[in-house]
């Protein structure tokens, strides 16, 4: 096999990994601040995917253009969910939170099955079959657009947390809960806001993911698992770690499929997870132990 083949596959893996990373970023934001592990994360992404599919099939609205509106809808959904349903569980044992979010995930899958049925749905954009020739590399246009959009969205989120007052307040809340209360921050509101930002991330990722994969209601649990693999590899609670973890997993799956057997490519992602848990449990890109 020539070097070009490895390069092509690596580029495709990195681009897919960026979208994975954005999805996992949402999980990391939620855990980093609210300290709730969202077991309905992939299912929430499948809501966003179906929103993108419906908007495309009804109005021919490109998922890339609808990325922000869908993220906004998911933001509201996340805010309402946290404030109305999850917040009362904040002081309860972790297994109660776990069961609550697993139940939310199951409900989402079944509602989507009832509404849309089990058939795979696709978004057939005008550039669905396009690819760019960049020297020896053939880049899938849909993956390229999705990857770039993921970088832009993640950069916006980083900037929000770093430079805006609300972002700083959320970080303060995540760093020192008691301190945040002492200085008079509305912690409950900030929790809901953080959860909403996490679901907005997953909304944006879901919208972009429709360019890469066919959409079915049963995708949710698979992506929840994938998001966990990524954030644990990158570092639970680390935003940069989630994005880089996504790229690492995307790249690993792609190259493992090429070098070994494609049907076992997921095995390598899980092998990395096991190694990380054994030798660097705080994650590859996280400074502190969680």
């Amino acid at each position: 096999m020539t070097f070009d083949v490895y390069l092509n596959v690596a580029v495709a893996g990195i681009l897919t990994g960026l979208v994975y990373g954005l999805m996992a970023l949402g999980l990391s934001v939620i855990f980093g601040v609210v300290r709730v592990i969202n077991f309905a994360h992939g299912e929430m992404m499948s809501i966003a995917m179906f929103l993108a599919v419906v908007l495309f099939s009804a109005f021919h609205l490109d998922p890339l253009i609808m990325l922000l509106p869908i993220a906004a809808v998911m933001f509201v959904f996340g805010y309402v969910l946290q404030a109305g349903l999850i917040n009362p569980f904040m002081t309860r044992p972790e297994h109660s939170q776990f069961l609550l979010l697993v139940a939310v995930g199951i409900i989402i899958v079944n509602v989507l099955l009832i509404v849309f049925g089990p058939d795979a749905r696709t978004v057939q954009t005008s550039y669905a079959y396009d690819s760019f020739q960049l020297g020896p590399v053939l880049v899938d246009a849909s993956k390229a657009y999705a990857g770039v959009a993921a970088i832009v969205f993640a950069a916006g989120l980083f900037a929000f947390f770093r430079f805006s007052l609300v972002g700083k307040a959320i970080r303060a809340c995540a760093d020192n809960y008691t301190g945040a209360l002492v200085v008079g921050l509305n912690v409950n509101r900030l929790y809901a806001l953080s959860f909403a930002l996490g679901t907005a991330c997953v909304g944006a990722a879901g919208s972009m993911m429709t360019l890469i994969v066919d959409v079915t209601p049963n995708l949710g649990p698979t992506y929840t698992l994938l998001a966990f693999v990524i954030v644990i590899t990158g570092g639970l609670g680390s935003m940069a770690g989630a994005l880089l973890g996504g790229v690492l997993i995307g790249l690993t799956e792609a190259l493992a499929g090429l070098l070994f057997t494609p049907s076992a490519k997921s095995m390598f992602a899980f092998a990395i997870l096991v190694l990380v848990l054994l030798f660097r449990p705080q994650g590859l890109f996280s400074k502190r132990a969680t």
């Binding site: 096999m1 897919t16 099955l113 696709t122 049907s263």
Partner: protein, 407 residues
């Protein structure tokens, strides 16, 4: 006027006789009523589209059976959810709910699980579609298959390939083999490896690439296949894989000389509808219908009427034929007793059928070893038969038109 006196004992005896007389027709009705057939298909999950495609064969059957003088069937729907464990559970549930015969289940892995349940419970199973040879090699007494095994499909496929090569005057020297990594794909892989030398095929398989049956992205797999520079792409998969693979072939700008599919996926309506012009070209080697048979024409007419704009395919043909076997056996058995039904199925001899070959009859293992396969090519949104010669209605197009020139 004579006064009739009836004592208490006479009244009781009379009541008992009356009750028995009234009850008798009900008992007779129960025995001659519709046969309860549990139809297990992957109606959800990654094989849902094909499961629902099979269901169309069930839906159009009743009026045809009526015209053939066959008894009515009561269909009990079961969903395997494209999952072996769910298939097993739902087979058990259908039987406990009163199913007297099972039909299903498109997928070899799921069908294997259902066959175990059917054998254990002593309820006949008529397999509509499932190619793994092992299913009818277990010594089962209640399992019947009117569908060629992976070995027969492969053997017929190679024979039909050689016929095509001779028609187009081309003998490709290299191929890359992409297959789904499940019971069916593995069985087909073994079949290809065993039969290729026997048929003295002109091409050599440069690499075999297996992939996850629930794959959401086949970009790596197609890149790997493209890197072999093979002339021909040999595939064993299903609809979802066929769609993913075709998209990647287009994006990665690779049009092999031919796509030779040794199974389903590439001729289903959803493949044509989703890909439009990009669906043209692939050749499938599959169990198909004989367009010259009277019942095939009847079934196709009913199908087109029920589903305008759709094309009849393997899924409807063999699901319909599985029900045909059930109805025919029930008519001859005259009973819903499983043993009587099994005896009747074993003696099946249907010559007025739909699929290619002399008809439907089962050998001692419960396998119809007379059923034959065709080579069909996608052309203008439908499949035409290009081999065997006696069933062909079009000539093969070789090589495939490049995807990049189809805008």
């Amino acid at each position: 006027m004579t006064r009739i006196r009836i004592n208490r004992r006479q009244l009781l005896a009379g009541s008992a006789v009356g009750a028995a007389t009234l009850a008798a027709p009900a008992l007779v009705r129960a025995q001659n009523g519709p046969l309860k057939v549990g139809v297990l298909l992957p109606r959800s999950g990654f094989e849902a589209a094909i499961g629902q495609d099979c269901q169309r064969g069930v839906d159009i059957a009743p009026p045809i059976f009526k015209s053939l003088g066959l008894p009515e069937l009561t269909i009990m729907n079961g969903d395997t959810a494209s999952n072996v464990d769910v298939a097993r559970e739902h087979a058990e549930k259908l039987i406990s709910d009163g199913a007297q015969l099972l039909v299903g289940a498109f997928d070899s892995g799921q069908t294997t699980a259902i066959a175990q349940v059917a054998e254990q419970k002593g309820i006949p199973l008529v397999i509509n579609i499932a190619g793994a040879p092992a299913i009818t090699e277990q010594g089962y007494k209640f399992v019947f298959r009117n569908f060629p095994t992976a070995i027969t499909i492969t053997a017929d496929g190679f024979a039909n390939q050689k016929e095509i090569f001779s028609i187009v005057g081309v003998e490709p020297k290299t191929a890359v083999f992409m297959r789904v990594n499940d019971t069916y794909g593995t069985a087909m892989s073994k079949g290809v490896a065993a039969l290729m030398p026997k048929f003295n095929m002109p091409y050599k398989i440069l690499e075999e690439i297996s992939y996850d049956p629930a794959a959401r992205d086949l970009s790596v797999e197609v890149a790997k296949a493209k890197a072999t520079n093979a002339e021909v792409l040999l595939v064993v998969g299903r609809l979802n894989d066929a769609l993913l693979m075709t998209r990647e072939l287009i994006k990665q700008r690779w049009t092999p000389e031919a796509i030779l599919s040794m199974g389903p996926g590439w001729y289903e309506d959803q493949y044509f509808k989703t890909l439009g012009k990009m669906s043209d070209g692939p050749i499938s080697f599959v169990p198909w219908f004989d367009p010259n048979k009277k019942l095939a024409q009847t079934l196709e007419a009913a199908f087109v009427k029920a589903y305008p704009g759709s094309n009849m395919n393997t899924n409807q043909v063999f699901t319909f034929e599985a029900l045909l076997v059930a109805a025919d056996a029930y008519k001859r058995a005259g009973s819903t007793d499983p043993k009587a039904l099994v005896d009747a199925i074993r003696k099946t001899d249907i010559t007025d059928n739909v699929s290619v070959g002399p008809g439907i009859a089962f050998n001692a293992k419960g396998q119809n070893d007379k059923v034959k396969d065709s080579a069909i090519q996608n052309r203008g949104g439908k499949a035409v038969t290009i081999a065997p010669k006696e069933a062909a209605n079009a000539k093969p197009e070789w090589p495939m038109k490049p995807y990049q020139n189809r805008a």
